[in-house]
Symmetry: C2
Subunit: 448 residues, 2 copies
């Protein structure tokens, strides 16, 4: 209720027969006692009382509800019966509802939130449908810190009335939602999901976590929401045929969404790797190959260009080890990067080199004026790279250890501002690039 | 030289015929002109001059050198010849050396560093041998931020004289080194490594990254250090037979080292999962199974204990979903944790629940006195858990998103101080637990 009051645009009527007011606002004994008309009922009473409250809502002419209360089908047979009753009452009365056992929902554009979370969700282009309130919470939290904003969030709960597929259909045509994400344990309308997804992904990416793949996690799904996790092979095939990007967890989801927001799709999966050290290149190449990318063979003209700007001890192949050249004095990093981006064999570049003025550790600069100069150089260098990415339509991903961002939060927001996704290790970057390359191939095939 | 001067315990003689002083200290034209006796020569002249400098060192009676200079075998045939000459001169003169093409080395206990890095390495029990200077740099940087201290670091370079195996033999008997770590591209004395490792791992863990597993990364290894990455199957078998823990990258290396430092080894791989939400449990169970752990079936007595302290809607199985109970008012999280730790079927516990006073977001508390109260409660709760871990010899791992630590660096150091490793996601925690369980089984078998 605090959240709802914070937006201050709506009339809120607390209903609670045991108190006279809630947060300073007069409370009503029953929904039917409310003087004005009601657009949405948010129900958080004990399970056994929910059907009664819904009846009152029907009487009052309410058309929509969010049922936060738990204690229904997820708890066993008796709760299941209660849920069946609830659906019957709502259907007869023409009420559609989210839940029960939902954590609530949020719409950042109209500033409506029925969530009990104490923090705000930053508005943005990503819609999220989650079959777990807690996991949805985790995704949104990870997303916000990664700089991702959200349009709508729905914690679907038991889906006794509205199903995940209904929310998907809605987000597919929602103008504020450019990317749809979902945490799925089990689908109630698999065929409808497949059709909707197939129609949607050609113009709007869908990124999902489908949990319950392993034996015990599938058991846990049954305990959690009472649904069946289903055959993973069927889900896998359906997702691939419908152009749905499937990820493993919240980190990978945020990684992919960030790339989709900021970078062009690579034409294919042939990667160029640019590093300041041999070992970094070895580990990056290994990570890329493990994730299904190809290490691009360099065109002879690219080797010539690199010969012209790098010291003779450079690796003469991909991964391109610039052999320790330092940024501060040497523009070779840009010449090398442009050379890789111009290579017809290279679909995307993984960059593992400092983009600031020199590779001095930030930690040694704190409390000195140097840090400002470093930041300025880094910012203008990032702008240069960002411009090339747009011009050439070829993605550039940076790899920087998470630890650097942990000690220097300013850095990550600067990179984001310039549209260059930064990943803590080569494996996470490679995985995202593989998703993007696959999606591009899917879209190309769908167009033909 | 700045580093060497900073420790201020040694006599440093700069040698450079083109200047009269370096950092205010009189420079000599040649090693032979130095008045005192020399314990260690640090050589960073161009490759072609290195044999000459080594000759001067022989004349002066120097017995040890670090050769930072590059331009030897790693650059091709001509450099290879130069390296052969260098080794001949050194052998004849009785000089042992690190490198060439080494980034230097460091010993934190005697405060000796020949590295050019601008930051200090915190002393600690971890030794690191790296066949890549840059990757070693990355490991140490990741380690320091994760709270890991180092005893010795050696960037082995081309290993023209001293081999990785020599450093391993040394660290195996070094009292300041409790855990040995290494970044390996290719071994020159595989059989010796295997023997040394086998003798060492029964009392001191060895954790390695072996790079060059994939086709193109193996090629990159040849470019980088001129060694062969070898057959990965042979390495894999040898590592397993010698009790060597093999990890993929710097993050996993730090994850494993942190666990080895702070936690007992689990007797086996049967995990108990404790969460505040169903979806979190589903994803955690999936991650554990994917990494090879078993989801422990709960003993009937454990179910009874959990029935007694949790709301009736708890999951009644493993993963244990506490169904949203909030820490602030409810000691059930501890009762549940103790119950899982006491279960004979459970070898380790994965905890995904807030240990502070309530699960209010820290972000909503900044600038208020609440944060201090939260911290105090968290600290005393962590001490309780930590004590139980020691008493029962059963590890407890926490899962918290990296993003929380990114916004609240104080938290990670508090958890570390209390000896509870915290991982950003269940998959990383599960992977570490699988390594630890494997190592325990190896040790048990070795004892018999």
């Amino acid at each position: 209720m605090r959240h709802l009051l914070a937006s201050a645009k709506r009339k809120i009527y607390p209903v609670n027969p045991t108190v006279s007011e809630v947060l300073g606002i007069a409370a009503y004994d029953s929904v039917v006692d409310i003087p004005g008309s009601i657009d949405l009922a948010v129900i958080a009473v004990s399970a056994s009382r929910v059907p009664m409250v819904i009846r009152e809502c029907v009487q009052k002419g309410v058309k929509a509800a969010v049922i936060v209360s738990g204690g229904f089908a997820e708890t066993g047979e008796q709760g299941g019966k209660l849920e069946t009753d609830l659906v019957k009452v709502a259907r007869q009365g023409g009420i559609r509802f989210i839940g029960p056992n939902s954590m609530g929902h949020a719409d950042t554009s109209s500033q409506l939130s029925t969530l009990a979370w104490t923090w705000e969700i930053t508005p943005g282009p990503v819609g999220l449908i989650s079959q777990s309130g807690n996991y949805g919470h985790r995704i949104i939290h990870s997303g916000l810190i990664s700089g991702i904003g959200f349009s709508k969030f729905i914690s679907t709960g038991n889906e006794a009335d509205l199903h995940l597929e209904d929310y998907l259909e809605y987000l597919a045509q929602d103008e504020n939602t450019k990317i749809i994400t979902a945490y799925i344990e089990g689908l109630r309308e698999g065929r409808r999901f497949f059709q909707l997804a197939k129609e949607t992904t050609v113009r709007k990416p869908i990124v999902v976590i489908k949990a319950g793949v392993t034996k015990e996690s599938a058991k846990a799904v049954r305990f959690h929401t009472g649904t069946s996790a289903g055959s993973d092979a069927v889900y896998t095939t359906a997702f691939r045929q419908a152009g749905v990007l499937r990820v493993d967890d919240d980190d990978e989801l945020c990684d992919v969404v960030t790339a989709l927001l900021y970078q062009p799709l690579p034409r294919n999966n042939r990667i160029g790797i640019l590093t300041i050290g041999g070992g970094l290149g070895v580990v990056a190449a290994e990570a890329c190959e493990r994730e299904g990318l190809e290490i691009a063979p360099l065109a002879p003209s690219t080797v010539e260009k690199l010969d012209a700007c790098l010291p003779p001890r450079w690796s003469h192949g991909n991964p391109v080890d610039m052999a320790g050249i330092s940024m501060a004095e040497n523009p070779a990093i840009f010449s090398s990067l442009w050379a890789l981006m111009e290579d017809e064999n290279v679909d995307a570049v993984l960059l593992q080199a400092p983009l600031g003025a020199g590779n001095k550790r930030l930690s040694s600069m704190f409390n000195s004026g140097e840090i400002r100069a470093f930041r300025q150089a880094e910012e203008s260098n990032l702008s240069l790279v960002s411009q090339r990415v747009r011009e050439q339509g070829k993605p550039v991903f940076m790899v920087k250890p998470a630890v650097e961002f942990a000690t220097d939060p300013e850095a990550s927001s600067l990179f984001r501002k310039k549209g260059i996704p930064v990943y803590p290790g080569p494996r996470r970057a490679a995985r995202v690039l593989n998703h993007l390359a696959w999606y591009r191939r899917y879209l190309d095939a769908a167009e033909r």
